[in-house]
């Protein structure tokens, strides 16, 4: 069985590193893995999406409607935007941090009130204040490792050491300890 993870967020939040970290761990575990990223325009504060798929044999690198076992959302309404990608029995792991898009800041669009609560009525939601945990670990930039920590609880086939090993390999040495701390704080939530 192929499992699908969709990572959504705002350009600049570190979603790309998150998918690469998850991919790295899954390859070490011996899975066939595909990741898909879109570069370019999406980096400048736009909505960004990456996919991670793994199993015995993976064909398509993209996650499509109703296929995601997990959506890992770095921002409160991004999960809502991509909700139709989630499997009926899938889980949305979401950061409760709200980042207003330019359409809300200067345009007429409005930001939905209490998106996380509304989402909880529509699917299985695990909500965390990843920004607070990242700050506690030492940097707001560690939101991505906090969320990976939360996700790790849903992937029992992978033990903690494999995750920490991947952080050591992929994160700049200077930031390894901080990110390990952030990961553990997410995992222990």
């Amino acid at each position: 069985m192929t499992k699908s993870i969709m990572i959504v967020g705002v350009g600049g939040q570190g979603t790309l590193l998150a998918s690469r970290l998850i991919g790295h761990v899954l390859v070490e575990k011996g899975f066939d893995v595909k990741l898909s990223e879109v570069h370019g325009m999406s980096q400048r504060g736009g909505s960004v999406v990456t996919y991670v798929k793994y199993g015995e044999k993976v064909y398509s690198p993209i996650v499509d409607k109703g296929e995601a076992d997990f959506i890992l959302s770095f921002e409160a309404v991004e999960g809502a935007r991509y909700l139709e990608m989630l499997k009926k029995d899938g889980t949305l792991i979401t950061n409760t941090q709200e980042i207003y898009p330019i359409t809300v800041i200067t345009g007429g669009a409005s930001y939905p009130a209490e998106p996380t609560q509304k989402l909880s009525k529509l699917c299985d939601v695990k909500a965390v204040d990843a920004l607070a945990l990242a700050r506690a670990a030492g940097s707001e930039k560690a939101v991505n490792t906090v969320l990976i920590g939360v996700l790790s609880n849903y992937l029992p086939e992978i033990e903690q050491d494999a995750w920490l090993g991947a952080i050591e390999k992929l994160v700049k040495p200077k930031f390894v300890e901080l990110n390990k701390k952030a990961f553990v704080s997410g995992r222990e939530i």
Partner: protein, 575 residues
């Protein structure tokens, strides 16, 4: 050892392993990382060229000299390189030569979604289409063997989902290819009519030989399963089809021009229904039909626009859609924006304020077209801002004092300089703004001839934009600090009033560059803010309104100071 690799990195690996010596490219999403990755190998010479035509010609020169050579570009880059492309099919190669072209169906980061497969047919050049990273590596290595065996450049076509997906790749060692002897051979390389007439016959003969190869090549093969349904597909479409119909029969195309039509005919005879799945144009379908092979589904099912995916293919084939939940409330759009502190912002603020007609170009600054700045009237292709302004002003001279072109530094050197020469030579009274942020921003920070560094970070004398503009015949050339709103406005007004062509270079490095020191964030003194919303006209992502007052997000603010300049009440301060 197997490694998870981006398709583009796998192509770079293939180049390394194939003993490629020379790589010259111009950046363009989704092709850019190939050249960035291959530059990390000391054994390979790699450079950024000013544009794709130059890159392709220099790669052809390296091939002529006997080296295995390479160039990569996005789909529209091949339009720029089309001239050498067509005639290099006539000359053929000495050292193997591969041209990678990366299509962008769905236009994740492009201005059109043209289908590069047409170029293989038009230029009569073989084309390979990998479907994942392992094939990116393998096909790249094989492309050099084909190039040298059949004496032709080879096109390697990817798309966003192949170029920017990661999958497992088996690494091998580099096989040095050495330099082949260079022997002067005007009959093959001097394409005057007398020689080219003969070479055209060689091109046609080569195509016949390649067609025969295509029929039996291991790149084109049938995977027989359930014979009720047979698909013909290539590249990412193969992955989508296999995921939706794991048991169906599939004919996978790897060498997509010339097509293996006899092999497809044989496959079609074994299946009850033949469906051709391809993104963009119905090229495979037309050629299969033209060969007299029955096709039961193709463009009538899948359409000519955008990307395909599992769900689109399933829906087109009449399968029931998966059950999904929807949020049920509108979710506000989140388009990309100019970063906080972007040096382009102030320039567009001025253009918007002065209500000018702006012919635009392609780069981060195309975001100046978005609200609230909305200061762009056209965007077509690289360099077009300057030449379109010339045409516009020539037929409407009475509004030339209300019309400007904006173009980035990399784009100007790519093809704006020839357009500016047209302005100078044919004397339209035009004002061109070069937005020099000292980097090729849009595609992720590549060096260019004006930055003073090469791809391999060698320091070199930078092109002087001032001297270049003067040399083509523009007498009024001046530069301003892009953060200085007053200076930008004054310069634009003065140059628009002048009755000869002029260039304003708005200069300030991209604030994402490592050497740019962050300035302290600004904040709003609440009691001074009169809620006039002047600062909001900048469309800065760091400024929002909360409780009827402006608030600056200290984490995002880059301290550029534009908002403080605009605030008539002195409410925005450092710290």
């Amino acid at each position: 050892m197997k490694e998870l690799m981006l398709g583009n990195k796998a192509i770079a690996r293939g180049l390394y392993e194939a003993g490629v010596k020379y790589v010259s490219s111009y950046p363009g999403t989704p092709s850019t990382e190939i050249t960035e990755e291959v530059a990390l190998y000391d054994e390979v010479y790699a450079e950024w060229a000013p544009n794709e035509k130059v890159a392709t010609e220099s790669a052809l020169g390296a091939s002529l000299a006997g080296a295995r050579s390479f160039t990569a570009m996005k789909h529209v880059g091949l339009n720029v390189a089309a001239d050498p492309l067509f005639t290099s099919a006539y000359t053929g190669v000495n050292g193997g030569m591969v041209i990678c072209v990366a299509d962008d169906p769905a236009m994740h980061s492009s201005q059109n979604e043209q289908d590069s497969r047409h170029y293989a047919r038009a230029a009569k050049m073989p084309m390979l289409e990998p479907a994942d990273s392992a094939e990116c590596r393998d096909f790249t290595v094989l492309a050099y063997e084909l190039s040298e065996k059949y004496d032709t450049p080879v096109l390697l076509r990817t798309c966003t989902r192949v170029a920017h997906s990661q999958s497992l790749v088996e690494l091998k060692v580099r096989q040095e290819a050495g330099l082949k002897d260079y022997v002067k051979n005007p009959a093959k390389y001097v394409m005057n009519p007398g020689n080219a007439v003969k070479r055209h016959f060689a091109v046609e003969d080569r195509l016949k030989a390649l067609k025969d190869y295509s029929e039996t090549s291991p790149l084109n093969f049938a995977e027989m399963g359930d014979t009720a349904l047979g698909f013909v597909c290539a590249g990412s479409c193969y992955q989508y089809v296999k995921e939706v119909f794991p048991n169906a029969s599939v004919f996978k195309i790897g060498l997509s021009f010339p097509m293996p039509l006899d092999a497809i005919r044989e496959f079609a005879g074994k299946v009850e229904k033949l469906v051709v799945v391809e993104e963009l144009d119905g090229i495979f379908e037309q050629e299969i039909r033209a060969a007299g092979i029955r096709v039961d589904g193709g463009k009538d099912l899948f359409g000519n626009t955008g990307e395909l995916s599992q769900s689109k293919i399933a829906a087109a084939m009449g399968l029931k859609a998966k059950e999904v939940s929807r949020f049920g409330e509108p979710v506000p759009g989140r388009p990309p924006v100019m970063c906080a502190g972007c040096p382009h912002r102030g320039v567009f603020y001025v253009l918007s304020k002065l209500k000018l007609t702006v012919t635009g170009d392609i780069g981060c600054y195309t975001l100046g077209a978005s609200a609230p700045l909305s200061a762009m009237d056209s965007t077509v292709c690289m360099g077009a801002s300057v030449s379109m302004l010339h045409g516009f002003n020539t037929v409407r001279p009475e509004t030339s004092n209300k019309t400007v072109a904006v173009i980035g530094d990399s784009t100007f050197l790519h093809s704006g300089i020839t357009s500016l020469t047209d302005i100078a030579y044919n004397r339209s009274i035009s004002t061109v703004l070069i937005l020099d942020n000292s980097i090729t921003g849009m595609t992720g920070h590549q060096q260019n001839p004006a930055t003073g560094y090469t791809l391999k970070m060698q320091q070199v004398p930078p092109v002087s934009l001032e001297k270049l503009c003067e040399a083509v015949g523009i007498r009024r050339v001046r530069s301003v600090d892009a953060y200085d709103l007053k200076a930008v406005e004054a310069a634009v007004k003065e140059e628009l009033a002048a009755d000869e062509p002029s260039v304003i270079i708005c200069r300030r490095p991209c604030m994402l560059l490592k050497y740019v020191k962050p300035r302290p964030a600004l904040s709003v003194e609440m009691d001074k803010c009169r809620a006039c919303r002047s600062c909001m006209k900048l469309g800065c992502p760091a400024i929002r309104f909360e409780g009827g007052k402006a608030v600056i997000d200290a984490n995002q603010c880059a301290g550029c100071g534009l908002c403080a300049t605009l605030c008539a009440f002195g409410a925005i301060k450092e710290g």
